[in-house]
Every structure is written in C-alpha cells, then in structure tokens.
C-alpha cells in the first residue's frame, strides 16, 4: 500500500508512538488529575510531560497547553469562547469547516458579525491590506489557517498577529496542517490561541489535539467562556469551571493514552526537525510534479510552491473516479472538497473538488514514481 493521505492523518506513526500507547495501556496508568496514587501519578506525569514538550515547541508555558480531542474541538472552544455579543469575526477564504461552521453558527444565531478576508493567491501585501480594511479595533476575533489543507498556500501569520496586537483583537490560528511542518511560536507571532490536531503533523494518535494559549490570553482567561462544563479535579465546590488553565478547558478525563502517544510523536518531530520533514515533503512534491507535468490533461493547483499537499485533477475524469482507480492499485488519496468548500471555491475547484495527495515523512520517491505512472495511465484512458 502507498499511503498518500497524511493531511487527513499521518500513517505510519513512528515506532515510539505505538510503543508509548501500548505501554500506557498495559502498565498501571490511572486517571491523571483525579488522584495522587502511583497509577494516577504515572499518567499525570505523562500528561504534564506532553504539556512541557508542546510548550517548548510552540513558545508557551506548560500551564497554558490544553489537551483537546481534535483541532475542531479546540477551534470551537477558542472561537466561541473568545466571541463577544456584537463582535466581528474575520476569517480567511482558506478556512476549513472546523472554522467556517462555528463562525457561521455564531453569525446565524445573531451573536456576531462575520466577514472574510482574501488569501489573494498568497500575495501577503493584499492579504494584509484586505484584513486592515475589515478589522474593527477592540471588537474583533481574527482566525487564520496557517497552512491550507487543500493546497500549499500559507497565510502570513506573523504579520496578521502584529495587526491583531495593534488593534486589540483576539488572534486564533488553525495549525492543523502546519504544526510539525513549520515553526510556530505563539509569543513571537502574537497568536492568542493556537489550535491543532495531534494525529497529523505531530504524528500522535487520532482523538488527540492541543490548544496553546499565549501568556496574555492566559492572563485574561476568565473572559473566555466555556462550552463544556464538568469535573476538573480542582475547585469542586465551585459551580463554574476553574478560571485557570489548562483545567478551564479540560472538563472530564483527558485522553491520557492518546497523550502518551502524542508526547512520543512530538518528541519524534523535535528529534527529526521540521526543516528535515519539510525538505522530504518538498522533494516528493517536486518529483511528482515533474513526472506528471508532461500530460496536458493533468492540472496541479496552487501557486507552484512545493509542500505536503499535491492537489490535482485529470481532465474528463471526476476526482472520485481517480481516487477509486488509485485505490484499486493500493494508492490511498482523498478526493472531493476535503471539508473545505471555501478553500476549493477560492482555488477554483468548488464544484467537484480535487484529488489530494498528501505526503508524510515516511513516503519515498519510489512511491511518487509508482503513483505518477498510475496517474498518467488514468490520464491516457
């Protein structure tokens, strides 16, 4: 099998991740944060180590690292938690439904106003001027997809962060396709809340995710409302959730087995280095591009920037059919709109979407060669 669906979830996982999850299931591993006996302490140590490693990777304090079940959950917590009645939420035309839907639900309930700023094909000057024109100082939440899940476009997160800081706006970043690929620092980039899955570029298990708060966002955490309330292991007599991180956004038992795997995943990413990971993805992208560019029936989308995502269509063959034909030969890709109808509309593939090949660190040039052969055969049919 050739696994080319790493933007959905990376596979295979590093061996250390598998071993860490296995150990957490076989060794005494109690409920972290709910007791101080040896088994609970063992799990709590693992969970804290995860916060520490993530904090180091994203320039934050371990206390400001919240464990979630996914990027979607984190983005819902962040967007709905930060939104105030009558505020404006600005989001880009590259956003995934994990941003688009919670934002539009706030708009449809009459709670907030919303507007979209353009990605303008990666023209940073136009992106920034569009954002400045729409931002409402002191009453805005800005959301940005650092790296698209549909193409290799990225948004100028540092520049957007500067504008948010100057205008007193909350800045939420979706790092679903950038965590583990690019260096992200919440303080240096003026990000209020960074949300990400654990199972993609961080190579952890599915069902894991992180929210990373900046120091200033953490200091005003009481102003972030909660979406889900429940046991937190502290302040049990209070009727509301604790006003401290991470407990405020961790109602119920955290996925400690997943945390064990994610800890190993982040450690692996750190050892490997994001530059090396990206170098491999770029190499694979360029190889596949070169091999398939001889066919005028194949369109590869984006601005030609290599990266982890290779979106394409074959003239006259629906993306779903291309996906089926590739699957017949053991090549796993994802087709359609990739939960990002907005990004596909921006890319000009809004109707049927596209075929998405997405690379991971363990993919090889031999695999891109085999995939290219198959894609060219389909194009010739």
């Amino acid at each position: 099998m050739i696994y080319f669906d790493n933007a959905a979830t990376t596979w295979p996982k590093p061996r250390a991740v598998t071993e860490a999850v296995k150990r957490s299931l076989s060794d005494p591993f109690g409920n972290p944060g709910r007791g101080s006996h040896k088994a609970a302490a063992s799990a709590a140590k693992t969970v804290y180590e995860l916060r520490e490693e993530a904090a180091e990777l994203f320039g934050a304090d371990p206390l400001n690292v919240v464990l979630t079940s996914s990027a979607t959950q984190g983005l819902n917590f962040a967007i709905k938690g930060a939104a105030r009645k009558g505020c404006t939420i600005l989001f880009s035309d590259l956003e995934h439904n994990s941003v688009r839907r919670p934002v539009l639900s706030l708009r449809d309930s009459g709670y907030c106003h919303t507007d979209i700023y353009g990605s303008h094909g990666g023209d940073n000057e136009r992106i920034i001027s569009d954002l400045i024109a729409k931002i409402e100082p002191g009453n805005c939440v800005v959301v940005a997809n650092y790296a698209s899940n549909v193409c290799n476009l990225t948004l100028p997160v540092s520049q957007i962060g500067e504008i948010c800081k100057k205008t007193g706006s909350v800045f939420i970043v979706d790092a679903s396709q950038s965590a583990g690929h690019f260096n992200v620092d919440v303080e240096k980039m003026n990000i209020s809340v960074l949300c990400m899955p654990g199972h993609k570029g961080l190579y952890g298990p599915m069902g894991t995710g992180l929210m990373v708060f900046s120091k200033s966002a953490a200091e005003s955490i009481s102003s972030f409302s909660t979406l889900i309330e429940g046991g937190s292991g502290v302040d049990s007599e209070d009727t509301g959730m604790p006003s401290v991180l991470p407990e405020r956004f961790e109602p119920g038992t955290v996925n400690a087995h997943g945390a064990a795997g994610l800890l190993a995943g982040i450690q692996w990413v750190k050892r490997t280095g994001t530059a090396r990971i990206r170098k491999n993805e770029n190499r694979l992208w360029l190889d596949l591009y070169e091999r398939t560019s001889c066919s005028d029936r194949i369109t590869v989308y984006g601005d030609g920037t290599p990266g982890a995502i290779f979106p394409f269509n074959i003239k006259g063959v629906p993306p779903s059919e291309v996906g089926r034909l590739l699957d017949e030969k053991g090549i796993c890709v994802r087709t359609g709109l990739h939960c990002s109808p907005l990004a596909h509309k921006t890319l000009g593939t809004g109707e049927d979407g596209a075929v998405r090949i997405s690379f991971g660190f363990f993919n090889t040039l031999r695999e891109t060669e085999e995939a290219a052969d198959r894609i060219l055969k389909i194009a010739k049919q």
Partner: protein
Amino acid sequence: MYGCILTFRSQTAAAKAARYLKKTGIPVRIVSVDPSVTAKGCGWGITVECESANGIKIKLDEKGIPYGEVLSGGI
C-alpha cells in the same frame, strides 16, 4: 520526613512546581489535598519539609510559579 504541604491551584500547577524543584535537586511528591482544608474543595499540593518551605517559595517566586498556602501537619 515531610511535615508540610505547599498548595497549588491545580494539579498541573503542582506538576510544574514539582518538575522545576526536581531539576534544582529538591525531590517532592504531588498529593491531593483534602477538600475540608481548601477554600473551594479538591486541591493539590506538593510535600515539603516545613523548615524548607520558605526557601522553596522563594525558588518558585523566582521562576514565576504561583502557589497557595503552606499546610502544616500534612504527612
């Protein structure tokens, strides 16, 4: 022999303090604190020798790690 408990707002905060103190050569244990002795029920702390509690508080202040009160006769 530990006679006191230094309390924290959460188990995560206690873990941060414990990790830091361990690095500076002071091993401590994270313990849950009885609800009857905390203001809001269910608290967390680290075990410390009573006579070194003030020194530990200074170290935590230097690192900016917030803590609560010192409970004596804990262990």
